[in-house]
């Protein structure tokens, strides 16, 4: 542990968006009981939670004894029928949430091997091979970014299009490692890995904390004025004939973001809320609690409707506990080790879901009911380091569009095995993301952003799906929802 002192920020801070405006409606249970103020947003929210290195299938999947066949190649079992823990990873932390979660099995990506960290939200692999986590995905749009940019999702400019959190962790050498992003967006031909925010205190200060109203100059007006002048500076530079066309495009991109910021500064003044109680400590559990509180608060009071959270196992001494090596191994010891690592992550996920479920919105649903939370991973089975049989937990029904309380197994009943002897293939993983976007109210016109129908590598790799063995039935399933999960 370092000697960095614990710092506690103001409990009843004023919410401040990027513009620094003072706001006033309290929203947390600790401040207002369990009922959110009447004018808080009740629109649907999306949250993506990610961890690394896959799951041992024996640890993750529940016992499906007694499952019913609810659709072709679709088995379903009620989670409340399962005695004891749902699985080694989905343990007692989820007991109070069984009717709010869904476990999925048999969602596959026919990808190149490797840590395709872009996969969970793009259903796509990195262009420079699975190991190159920095290179862009073949399908360079992630679901969270699609939502952020969809006109039907945000009909008015949000304070934050998305809150992407990934705690800063301490490495072996004591240095802090910045968080990682799973999110991508492409605009004007330029693909960008969208940044994450890593420091709870900074996020708090940016979004929730504020200062007492002062008699000094209006900070919003000052920002607008300064940004106008910076845009003038950019315009002058852009006309310099010694710059190339790509150089000018980069400057234009910067100017566009300045204009967007001005728009958001104007829009932000109408939102009111108070922030959560944020404690900044170098303690793993408290650190994640801070991030979870921030995310829940932002979703609850309409700061944003999209969030992502990256969770890694952190040891008691604050150093991140990598378990990549273990993911390659097999056997009881390796399974136990993986289960203990993932139990840490599962506990954080359960904390997020429980807090979302504790907030009742004006329509009588909880924040979790009105949301879709997707806990995923960049790998399926860690051993093969590919994207077959992706371990997925969903939570929330997105206002009744997603079935909850069940485990669904989409693996083919016909023994479709592709080329893998040990993996019974199911359905394209991209169907989960199209279902998620439909649950958020998007039509396919808003998410078919690539060169053809479908989302993710389903576009590029359609020929693999059509290769036979029974999976060809999904080759053209570009816009289909996952059966029984999608409630319409």
């Amino acid at each position: 542990m370092t000697d960095r002192p614990e710092r506690r920020l103001a409990r009843r801070a004023f919410l401040r968006g990027a513009g620094g405006f003072a706001l006033a409606i309290p929203f947390l249970p600790s401040l207002l009981g369990s009922r959110v103020a009447a004018d808080a947003s009740t629109s649907r929210r999306f949250v993506g939670v990610f961890s690394l290195n896959g799951q041992f299938e024996a640890n993750w999947h529940p016992d499906m004894t007694g499952a019913s066949r609810v659709a072709p190649n679709t088995l379903s079992r009620s989670l409340t029928d399962i005695e004891g823990p749902i699985s080694n990873v989905i343990g007692s932390q989820f007991d109070g949430l069984r009717d709010k979660i869904t476990l999925l099995r048999g969602l596959d990506g026919l990808t190149e091997t490797g840590h395709n960290r872009c996969f969970p939200l793009t259903a796509s692999t990195h262009t420079e091979g699975g190991m190159e986590r920095g290179s862009a995905p073949f399908f360079p749009y992630s679901v969270d970014a699609v939502l952020e940019h969809a006109p039907s999702f945000y009909t008015t400019p949000p304070v934050l299009g998305a809150m992407r959190l990934s705690p800063m962790l301490r490495r072996y050498d004591g240095e802090l490692r910045a968080g990682e992003s799973f999110s991508w967006w492409t605009e004007d031909g330029v693909t960008t890995r969208l940044p994450v925010q890593s420091d709870a205190e900074v996020v708090f200060r940016q979004v929730f904390a504020g200062s007492e109203p002062s008699d000094g100059p209006d900070p919003n007006a000052r920002r607008q004025l300064v940004i106008d002048r910076v845009k003038d500076d950019l315009d002058r530079l852009r006309t310099n004939p010694r710059l190339g066309s790509q150089d000018r495009e980069r400057l234009s991109n910067y100017a566009d973001h300045l204009r967007d910021l001005q728009t958001r500064l104007s829009a932000a003044g109408s939102i009111t809320c108070t922030g959560p109680d944020v404690t900044y400590v170098e303690d793993a559990e408290a650190m994640y609690t801070n991030h979870i509180d921030l995310l829940v608060a932002a979703l609850a009071c309409g700061i944003t409707r999209v969030g992502t959270l990256f969770i890694k196992h952190v040891r008691a001494d604050g150093e991140e506990a990598g378990f990549h090596s273990n993911s390659h191994l097999r056997g009881p010891d390796a399974e136990r080790t993986s289960a203990s690592h993932n139990a840490f992550i599962a506990t954080r996920v359960a904390e997020l879901l429980s807090k979302m479920d504790a907030l009742v919105e004006p329509d009588g649903n909880t924040l979790l009911d009105n949301s879709l939370v997707l806990w995923g991973n960049e790998l399926g089975d860690g051993g093969s380091h590919g994207q077959l049989d992706m371990p997925m937990l969903l939570a929330g029904s997105a206002c009744g569009h997603i079935r909850t309380g069940v485990a669904l197994d989409y693996r083919s009943e016909e023994g479709v095995t592709w080329t893998t002897g040990g993996t019974r293939l199911g359905r394209p993983y991209s169907m989960l993301l199209t279902t998620a976007m439909a649950a958020m109210g998007l039509s396919h016109h808003e998410w078919e952003l690539g060169d053809g129908p479908g989302f993710g590598d389903h576009q590029k790799l359609g020929h693999r799906y059509a290769k036979g063995g029974g999976w060809d039935r999904y080759a053209d399933a570009h816009r289909e929802m996952l059966p029984h999960l999608w409630m319409g």
Partner: protein, 563 residues
């Protein structure tokens, strides 16, 4: 569930069965032709406009505002997103600003004004303290705009720019507000946030293409950011003002001066950390069977510390060249366990380095570099690392279905020697396309175990237990510099690479990438790397000299203009 395939999976799942070889770098394929290293008229390199990275911007703000004032910005600047690391194009490594970048700089600029009021050292030391007075006079305001602005813009402001900034300052309702507005504007200005190279004289390069002979201030910026990751210091700006950066000799003097600074040393060390991918190194598992008398706690950190100490000593104390770096048996283990792995007594700073045995020459055979994945040496990952990082080979990842197909076809292999497993798995097309290049590098290193200990026998672990022991077969043939080379150990491989042209050329390319934060992309870029390579191969240039030549060369002075 699939049968356990731990050792195989460590390798096969993470590497490539389909590869490409860059056509514009013929030496990469082992076909080095010395003639291709001559660059008589390479022309000027196009250098795309890019924003400052987070590291560059943090260093710049620190140097501009002073340590104390910069320390006040941790919350506001803290949200400026981190950048990618590794090799890639400008768009991949330093993509465009996002909303988060822009918001961070607006709030950072706002906070910088109050931070400078609380910690005005950067103003006071340059005679601009009066700008914080209740009513600064016109001379004070102009001197501040002109003097502090020179550091923000990293060049002198034109008279028009001074007038514009002064008018903006005076438009505010009071001087304090004017100061805040100017700081906010400066910290969001393209001149601060981008590497702008538009000043200089238009000319033609050696190919007749339009080019810009950069102003001395632009040259100062290039040199400073490449070596320190920050803005030019006063000495550099003054040298630019005196015209001393118009010549290669003047630039080289500044380069050697900067290389003595702590920031430049950090840049050099950071290069080796990135080149060796030390950040990706796995931990040591708590398994007595694997550890065989060692203690896992702190072992990895001690190994990495020894690796970096070796690098520091070679570069700064020994003045080593590439061959020496890659072949010296000097060891610097301050930790007793690591010393035991080398078979030497612990080293203490200031004392001569003990020498490891001949089986362990050079940087690549440090325990911190050889560290495997849990019980496995992760042989293919070692081979991929050598091919990609040390020999600049290009590889793609294999399709999952092909990997799984091969795993199913070969069946249970895990008690066999790693070499036999890998040869069975990868010996056929399409896998062999890349693995014919990867595997020899991997097999030669198999005389070092997963903890970097030299060994004569391979112990095979299954579920943490030793289930078999096999004699090693490290004899391989591989292509280096267009010839077939036979090696029979990690040491022989290290010596072969140490003396190879491709090894030197790849080192030059990696230095280029690290200092410029982009891959070489033009004939001029490749030509520069060839010159650095020749300097090391033919002229005995040290590692430090390689950094000097990488920065101080003719290409530094020009930029290709778009037709």
């Amino acid at each position: 569930m699939r049968p356990a395939r731990a050792t195989l999976l460590l390798s096969i799942a993470l590497t490539a069965c389909v590869g490409t070889v860059s056509e514009d770098r013929p030496w990469r394929d082992g076909d080095l032709d010395v003639d291709t290293l001559r660059c008589d008229a390479p022309g000027a390199a196009p250098t795309p406009l890019r924003r400052l990275t987070r590291r560059e911007l943090a260093h710049t703000l620190r140097d501009l505002l002073g340590e104390a004032a910069f320390g006040e910005l941790s919350l506001e600047f803290g949200v400026f997103p981190p950048d990618e690391v590794g090799a890639g194009s400008v768009d991949e490594l330093v993509p465009n600003h996002t909303a988060a970048h822009v918001e961070a700089m607006v709030s950072t600029g706002e906070r910088a004004a109050s931070a400078l009021r609380a910690h005005p050292e950067a103003l006071l030391s340059r005679g601009h303290g009066c700008i914080l007075d209740a009513a600064p006079d016109d001379a004070c305001a102009r001197a501040f705009i002109e003097g502090f602005g020179r550091r923000v813009f990293r060049r002198p402001l034109s008279e028009d720019e001074i007038a514009d900034q002064l008018a903006f300052y005076r438009d505010a309702p009071d001087p304090a507000e004017g100061f805040t507005r100017v700081m906010m504007r400066w910290l969001s200005s393209p001149q601060l946030l981008f590497h702008v190279e538009v000043d200089g004289d238009e000319t033609e390069d050696a190919t007749g293409a339009p080019a810009l002979r950069l102003s001395p201030y632009a040259v100062a910026n290039r040199v400073s950011y490449m070596l320190t990751g920050s803005m030019p210091d006063d000495a550099m700006l003054d040298a630019a003002a005196r015209g001393e950066l118009d010549t290669l000799e003047g630039v080289e003097a500044q380069v050697r001066r900067l290389l003595e600074t702590p920031e430049a040393r950090k840049t050099v060390r950071g290069f080796f950390e990135a080149w060796l991918a030390l950040d990706e190194t796995s931990g040591v598992p708590e398994d007595p069977a694997l550890l065989d008398g060692l203690m896992a706690a702190g072992l990895r950190d001690a190994m990495l510390a020894e690796t970096l100490t070796y690098v520091d000593q070679m570069v700064w104390e020994e003045g080593a060249d590439y061959r020496t770096l890659m072949s010296s048996t000097a060891a610097y283990p301050e930790d007793a366990q690591v010393a035991g792995i080398y078979g030497v007594e612990p080293w203490r700073p200031g004392l001569p380095a003990p020498l490891a045995g001949p089986e362990r020459p050079g940087l690549l055979l440090r325990p911190g570099v050889l560290l495997g994945e849990a019980h496995s040496t992760a042989p293919i990952m070692r081979g991929v690392f050598m091919l990609r990082q040390v020999l600049c080979g290009e590889l793609a990842a294999p399709p999952t279905d092909i990997v799984n197909s091969r795993l199913d076809e070969v069946g249970e292999l895990r008690t066999q020697p790693a070499r036999a497993q890998i040869e069975t798995l990868t010996g056929e097309q399409p896998c062999s396309t890349c693995h014919s290049r990867i595997n020899p590098l991997a097999f030669a290193l198999e005389d070092f175990d997963a903890l970097g200990r030299h060994r004569a026998l391979e112990r095979v672990f299954v579920d943490g237990e030793v289930v078999a022991e096999h004699p090693l077969d490290t004899a391989v043939e591989l292509e280096l510099d267009g010839a077939t080379v036979s090696v029979d150990s990690g040491a022989a491989l290290a010596h072969a690479i140490a003396n190879s042209e491709v090894g030197h050329a790849c080192f030059a390319e990696r230095v280029f990438e690290h200092t410029r934060i982009r891959r070489p992309a033009s004939a001029a870029d490749h030509c520069l790397n060839r010159r650095v390579t020749r300097a090391m191969l033919d002229d005995g240039a040290s590692l430090l000299d390689a950094f000097v030549v990488n920065v101080a060369n003719d290409a530094l002075f020009t930029r290709r203009l778009e037709d």
